[in-house]
Point group: C2
Chain length 274, copies 2
């Protein structure tokens, strides 16, 4: 952990990365992402040094510095830790930053590609795949559930939203930094690769053939969630086996993250992961 550096001027160029963070986040900054709060910071600390994500800068509310010492000490000396008063931080960030800590993270220059990710999975593996997941809350919740139930990887197609977007990362309680993932390509192609690697692929849909409690266990299983609203594309529904979750009739189907959680819990139990 480097020595904390006091910032008194909101215009200080050393904290330029945090300026008006809410607005700029909407545009995205090449290769960077925003970390808010202690829970996600702890996940960034765990990820830093493992080679995939790293911390670039940390900005701490002065009265939270002591309380955060155990997390901050996990970062190496070359990650600058800036400290400022609430008034200065609010002026920098452009909103009331009650969470007490912000950080800028850096994405890996070369992310996992799907083939490399699949090649690295263990013999007994559980993968969560998402097709057209466009809502950041749902994307974050999918990662949170994937982590909770021991999924080994998340695979999103190119039409899904960025899980490192500020809100998605926060809702994931930082799990996006912990569960290996890709976001690329076409879902049928991704699922074809999983199939070729011995995965039993199951699409989840209100029109699924099998109740989730009756899914047979396989050493390698992949669960595919469709976009909110429209659900899984017909091409996925027709090529792979499908499962459903019993619910009361004549209601909107379950939220996608909720449905994924129910199915992951069931499969994780079958596979002995939880």
């Amino acid at each position: 952990m480097g020595a904390p550096i006091a910032i008194d001027d909101p215009a200080d160029p050393r904290v330029a990365a945090f300026r008006d963070i809410r607005e700029r986040d909407l545009v995205g900054r090449q290769g960077r992402f925003v970390v808010e709060g202690t829970v996600v910071l702890r996940m960034l600390a765990a990820a830093h040094g493992k080679g995939r994500f790293r911390a670039e800068t940390i900005l701490v509310l002065e009265n939270r510095l002591a309380g955060l010492a155990d997390i901050l000490s996990d970062f190496p000396d070359d990650v600058p830790i800036y400290v400022a008063s609430a008034a200065v931080i609010d002026a920098i960030a452009g909103f009331n930053m009650h969470r007490g800590v912000l950080a800028i993270g850096v994405r890996p220059e070369a992310g996992f590609d799907a083939q490399a990710l699949i090649a690295g999975l263990p013999e007994r593996a559980l993968v969560l795949a998402g097709c057209g997941i466009s809502n950041h809350d749902n994307a974050g919740s999918l990662f949170r559930n994937a982590a909770a139930f021991g999924a080994d990887a998340v695979m999103l197609d190119a039409t899904s939203c960025d899980p490192l977007y500020r809100k998605a990362l926060r809702v994931s309680v930082g799990s996006v930094l912990a569960v290996p993932y890709v976001r690329e390509g076409d879902m049928l192609d991704l699922l074809g690769r999983l199939d070729a690697a011995g995965f039993a692929v199951w699409g989840l849909s209100p029109r699924g053939e099998v109740e989730i409690g009756d899914i047979p266990v396989s050493p390698r299983m992949a669960l595919v969630m469709g976009t909110e609203g429209e659900g899984l594309p017909p091409a996925v529904m027709s090529r792979f086996r499908t499962a459903r979750i019993a619910q009361r009739p004549q209601l909107d189907s379950l939220n996608v993250a909720m449905a994924a959680g129910l199915a992951l819990y069931r499969i994780a139990q079958l596979q002995g992961k939880i």
Copy 2:
């Protein structure tokens, strides 16, 4: 359904209830709530006339009027339906109202009280109770899950947030208007009443004694969720039986709505509700 009334002036007093709806919602307007979008409007139409909730006013985007005819026709003639262009509606509501329809609902003057709600429950019943549920997303998701898995009622203590708040209602996909609920009093008192009415009360907690798959079935069951972060109060944990949901260690516990959904699904299956 009454004849639609065109509104050309954003300052028209007939649509005053919709003015700057986002800002005013934060303060709350006595006895009223805001409905956004067709899914929730459909639930309001179903609730209207059943004596609990009713619609006061509806405001429709002019190019959506034809598409909404089937829902609007479910409202009686004395509910005024105002129609306006996107520019006029945005000027009234103070934001881009892409959902195409807004309505003002009215709460019942006398809500259910807990005793009356419990007295009206069937012999085979499932109740979801929430203690200190302070996040509107979570409150909405709890109702959505309660409806999906056939819960007969939701009971919130007085420290929980208002599930008719705009965002909670939207996240619930309108289920707040469909599942009978109370929000009052102290959780131990509410649970004592359920216990006295023959309910097997189960608190859900990461420190619960029994895995949810091992909860024995009872004709009347109540599931209690604690506040985000702190979980259930010790007084609830010590007085009632408790259940847990297996997950990977050393992670944040599951989101409260996710945990409730997993337990409701299991209990609803045991009770034959789904």
